[in-house]
Symmetry: C2
Subunit: 394 residues, 2 copies
């Protein structure tokens, strides 16, 4: 066979305003390419310790078992499910988007008797309906999506956590898109198992999945009668590498861990509250700008995710053509709709480093250009003016 | 909680001569920190296409289903096992080291009825004993480790593959440590499922697992009656992202894929045969040097891995002290023994970029220093002289 002639050696400089990955700070990219060391090197063990400590701050938890799984966010989901569930266990999953659907699938593969509770895409669950289902099913675990990346909806957790625990169940929470962008309070909300991803509001490339388990979850895991179905994701072994024994399990993705370490430092240097404020402020500016362009949100205002703006594609506009033009002419990526929302919504991310006033203004300006090309009538500069109005008032 | 004061911001420059990760070329580190793009960006889809093509060359296969799993080598192992095995299927696993033991564990968790065939650590299997066990067990899959990273032994495959297929079974092969260092002939050897890692002889940081499946394996996978236990590793979905449909499954680790893409370009630029020659030559020089220092190999000469030299720690030498001195004074990492070999062997890697004459000479010089400090009597310069003799004769 002839050697492959590779020509694509230079990645283009995108502005990532889709549902993730998001833009990455140059400090994180620099950390990613730092010299590699062994997975038992004293230097790397120090990086791991600091990372666990920073992850606990970001998750707002004191949970001992807090670490980064060596896979992307979906591997984090699978980690939480397969470590808590044994074949025949009952699990309730809230399905109001693609990721709830995914969690139900993962749980069924792990041998759970899955009961789904459903809401139309874009809506969220209330405590009463969760109380009803847990009273009826008596599940071991209830799994919910905090920030549904497919719909842009933010699920309130605090009250639901009470009804879940009152029924004697554990609460498993997906914070892939929420962590670092909106408040995530693992201890205050009494969440038993949580996972996230690196490539959303933490602004690190994809490849790792932060997870954390409560003492109650650990008790359940320690009392398992069967082995965890996945060797790779079995926390009873992985924790001996991240914990005191430093027992080799698998070779950790060294450089990816460097990157997450640096990304977490950036998050904590900014401060979580400042970071949430920034996400909210840019969301409000974008929102005003989009409305001025005649674009409506797909999610009611009271549970919109500031970091993921799901909006309805205006009638008569060619979804793919607009996204292609944004990428081709401006280097801007926004996301299309996922699952039943395909062709109906755009998903505009303002996550982590990508949540900036310059990205908001540029996107509104570029979108005006694309929509005008699509024959939509727009008052010139209306989107940018509305967003600037919000920034000016802040 | 107070912000973490992080002080470890600069990774030390190691020379990685352990069992992996190995040294990484600066071109690969540069690719790792290239600008991130979306996982459906036309640029990234091009990177994926080229990567599949290069992986096929390196595996020496025409297998359509050839891609990089979003996890480390052990995730590759789990991917191959869980996609081929359904609960109740019989699987034979050859156990002559830690990774055979691991494969048997992974298979049992997937619901396989596992039969292990065992050899002492450091030995390899012959075709007759495999023929006997497959005739008796009639397994669906036979799993073997091509290059046992825990023992340094190279398992011949060609004849065994014939007896496995004569018995109607599929052959699953671990090439984590072999790929890119010694010949791996997936099509010529008729291997049905193979996985590897990036951090050994491909000299890329850990984080991805190249895999490939034969047409016969695909038939078995397509005929499954049950879902794959792992959602994350389910090839029936992952292949729709790497293949023509480009259906979103999980967010690929973008920058890690850049890195593997560049690492594969380096492998093919050098040429596989040249690369194997280089690994062999440096192994022979190291071997001569170690013997001059009075250090014996743990594996008979006829099935030693050139890229992973497992040697017996001389009597009276403090294992941990020597490895600590090598790391602390010279920045050189070598590996300790794994499993039952702990404290008995060192594992000296000459993998990928780390397989160089300068690393061989430096290690021999540094080892002379450490062993002398341990009270071992060595003719000054004997190791270096013996290695240089091999290089001079080449």
């Amino acid at each position: 066979m002839a050697a492959v002639q590779s020509t694509t050696t230079t990645a283009p400089q995108r502005i990532l305003m889709g549902p993730g990955p998001s833009d990455v700070d140059s400090r994180v990219l620099a950390a990613l390419s730092a010299p590699i060391v062994g997975h038992l090197d004293p230097y790397f063990l120090g990086v791991m310790d600091e990372m666990q400590s920073m992850l606990r701050e970001v998750f707002r938890t004191k949970n001992e078992l807090t670490l980064a799984v060596s896979g992307t966010g979906s591997a984090g989901m699978e980690t939480c499910v397969v470590n808590l569930i044994e074949p025949g266990d009952r699990m309730v999953v809230g399905v109001n988007g693609v990721f709830g659907t995914r969690m139900a699938d993962v749980a069924a593969r792990a041998g759970a008797e899955v009961t789904t509770i459903e809401r139309p895409f874009g809506e969220v669950f209330d405590a009463d309906e969760i109380a009803e289902v847990v009273a009826r099913v008596k599940p071991k675990v209830v799994g919910l999506i905090h920030a549904e990346t497919s719909t842009g909806a933010l699920q309130p957790i605090e009250e639901i956590s009470r009804v879940v625990h009152d029924a004697g169940a554990l609460l498993l929470l997906d914070t892939v898109t929420s962590l670092g962008g909106v408040p995530v309070e693992i201890d205050a909300w009494n969440v038993d198992a949580v996972y996230s991803g690196t490539q959303k509001c933490l602004s690190c490339p994809p490849g790792l999945a932060p997870v954390s388990f409560s003492a109650a979850a650990l008790e359940v895991m320690d009392a398992r009668k069967t082995k965890v179905a996945s060797w790779y994701l079995d926390m009873s072994m992985v924790r001996n590498y991240w914990g005191g024994k430093r027992a080799y399990h698998h070779t950790a993705p060294i450089n990816m861990n460097y990157a997450l370490h640096e990304a977490l430092r950036l998050v904590l240097e900014e401060g979580l509250e400042n970071r949430f404020d920034r996400h909210r402020q840019n969301h409000l500016a974008l929102c005003a700008g989009l409305e001025a362009l005649g674009i409506q949100y797909a999610v009611p205002a009271d549970h919109r995710l500031p970091q993921l703006n799901a909006v309805v594609i205006p009638a008569g506009v060619d979804d793919a053509a607009v996204r292609k033009q944004l990428l081709g002419e401006f280097g801007i990526e926004i996301g299309g709709g996922l699952g039943p929302m395909a062709g109906k919504t755009w998903r505009i991310g303002l996550m982590g480093a990508a949540s900036s006033n310059r990205n908001v203004l540029l996107l509104l300006a570029a979108l005006e250009r694309c929509l005008t090309d699509q024959g939509i009538s727009i008052t010139p500069g209306a989107g940018v003016a509305a967003a600037n109005g919000v920034y000016g008032a802040a």
